[in-house]
Amino acid sequence: MPFNVNPAELFGAVLDGILTGTVYALMATGLSLIFGVLDIIDVAQAGYVILAAYLSFVLQGVLHIDLFLGLLITMPLLFLVGLAVELAFIRPLKRERTQLSILVTFGIGLVIEGVLGMAFGTTEQGLQAWYVTHGFQIGNAYVPYMYVFAFILAVVLIAALFVLLYRTKFGRSVRALMQNRTAAQLIGINVERVSAITFAIGVALTAAGGMAYGATTPFNNNSWYDLITRLFAIIILGGLGSVQGALIGAIIMLVCSDVTAVVWSPVWSSAVFFLALVLLLLFRPQGLFGRVATRKQ
């Protein structure tokens, strides 16, 4: 097996991994947040990403609005979508929330896939802009401007999220809820309201993720399967419920994949990552930062 270890290419791969990893981190953070607060796995998160990508596509193609400016429309829009979904489909789940939420959110994802399929067909699309097709050189590596802009966007949004979580009253409620639902209720936190808003925030974040994803990867209505698998792998690696874990997991995953692609072959990049994940789980089922599942007493 020919291993190609070229320092310049390696550098390019690591750089690429960090840049794109941060975008994935943004999407995975939404997932982690939702899991931490509502205790559900939102499979549809990847569906919202693709939906957002198509929305950006329409805004840019039809209304000629710049991709980043378009976020001013898509983010609030997706926030509302998130609220609606939480109220209509998540809140009614009382019994066996854990199992049923995966199926419910999968159903939502399917509906999104279907609607997008009917509206746009299955041809692959890509978001266009000057910064997508142009880039610059660092040493031997070529970096499209989009990667850097997306990276900046992701960093800004993640920072904003941390400010929200750690410096606002609302954020305090969210963190309280993540720690202990019952206790939070007892001290007067409106669990339902906080849950709904958190969910909506998680979905709104996908608007940004979707735009970045759509500008860097060709997509169609089917892309959400591959994406959700990667996002899952990231949060499992990072540990369910840990927002830092999602961040670090995303960067590790993308760097590993990109490096494998360069050093070995692109064909093996995802497979190696998944296999490594499985190995990690053998020794550490809770991931890097997850809570150890203690025996219920």
């Binding site: 066996e96 419910v104 399917l110 279907g114 064909v267």
Partner: protein, 343 residues
């Protein structure tokens, strides 16, 4: 005084009638398009039943059963290509072989994935499908990658070529059902159900949770592997993305939920409804409508009828019978006027 039917007799007669109907079906309706759907329905029904044996009873929702479907498909394809086998009845002998291989693969896979619980478990099983899909694509020397593999033509007569597939698949379904029934009525089945309700409590009471779960997983994989092999032979060609397909498990999970998780008739009913719908949509409907239908159905079933059709109907039936004064099964009323305890 109306004499109600002996319930035990009813329990035996009904399935027998259905079995006879199933056996006669392709003979009475020789329309090849219809029989085609019937064969696929039997396949889905068998897989939904197999899924139920593991996930329905233990409550560990596996979204990874496609893995074993793919295993079964590749086993039969690889062996028949490698040995240069010809089509015909004897090729069906590879079906149980495929099942066994899938079951053997399920032992390490199950052992690893069952180290997790709840959400993590579901996600891991989904990832497993992708891992194997990737392996199937990339180990080109072994699996032929995206080019796929082709199975020998069966060489059955044009008039009746569907029949062998139909009856063998029916046999597989019956076997799966009998296994499910046997487990359900054994103490092992109780152990699985206890795991679903409160795994740690079960363990504290002496239930061998780890082994129990793994055994159910392996049995489930065995049947799914056999169906995978049948499918491969039926369709004639296999490709990584179609046999290691996450959408497949989702479909059988929905079938089980639609019909009723944990029941015997549920997965079959679900399979009949969904498979017919799927075929209808693929022919008559524009792209994407099927996904909307499937997704919406998921939402409706889970939010409105989380128990599934069969148990909901059963409850309505019992309520109706009680109202008619026919007796019904004894159920503890809400308040018991006894000396023991009131609240």
């Amino acid at each position: 005084m109306k004499r109600s039917l002996n319930p035990r007799l009813v329990k035996i007669v009904w399935p027998l009638l259905l079995l006879v109907a199933a056996i006669l079906f392709p003979l009475v309706f020789p329309n090849p398009a219809l029989d085609n759907i019937a064969v696929l329905t039997l396949m889905y029904a068998a897989m939904a039943t197999a899924w139920n044996i593991f996930s329905g009873y233990t409550g560990y929702n596996s979204l990874g059963h496609s893995t074993f479907f793919g295993f079964g498909a590749y086993v039969i394809a690889l062996i028949s290509v490698d040995k240069g086998l010809e089509g015909g009845f004897s090729l069906f002998l590879l079906v149980p072989v495929a099942g066994v291989v899938a079951a053997l693969a399920a032992i390490p896979i199950g052992w690893i994935t069952l180290r997790t619980r709840g959400h993590a478990f579901v996600v891991i099983t989904l990832i497993t499908v992708f891992i194997f899909q990737l392996l199937a694509f990339n180990l080109r020397g072994f699996t032929n990658g995206s080019i796929g593999l082709f199975l020998p033509a069966p060489g059955f007569g044009v008039d009746w070529f569907l029949l062998p597939y139909y009856y063998i698949q029916l046999a597989i379904l019956v076997l799966a059902l009998l296994t499910s029934l046997y487990i359900r009525s054994s103490r092992y089945g109780l152990w699985l159900l206890a795991i679903r309700d409160d795994e740690d409590r079960a363990e504290g009471l002496g239930v061998r949770t780890g082994t129990s779960k793994l055994i159910a997983f392996v049995i489930s994989a065995f049947f799914v592997g056999m169906v995978g092999a049948m499918y491969a032979y039926f369709i004639g060609s296999i490709y990584p993305q179609y046999v290691f397909d996450p959408a497949l498990t989702i479909t059988i999970v929905l079938m089980a939920f639609l019909g009723g998780v944990g029941t015997l008739a549920g997965p079959i009913l679900g399979a009949i409804i969904l498979e017919t719908a799927q075929q209808y949509f693929s022919i008559y409907a524009p792209t994407g409508l099927y996904q909307i239908f499937l997704g919406a159905l998921f939402l409706i079933v889970i939010l409105l009828m989380p128990q599934g059709i069969v148990p909901s109907l059963a409850r309505l039936w019992t309520a109706w019978r009680v109202r008619r004064g026919a007796g019904g099964t004894p159920v503890a009323p809400e308040r018991q006027p006894v000396a023991v305890e009131k609240g």
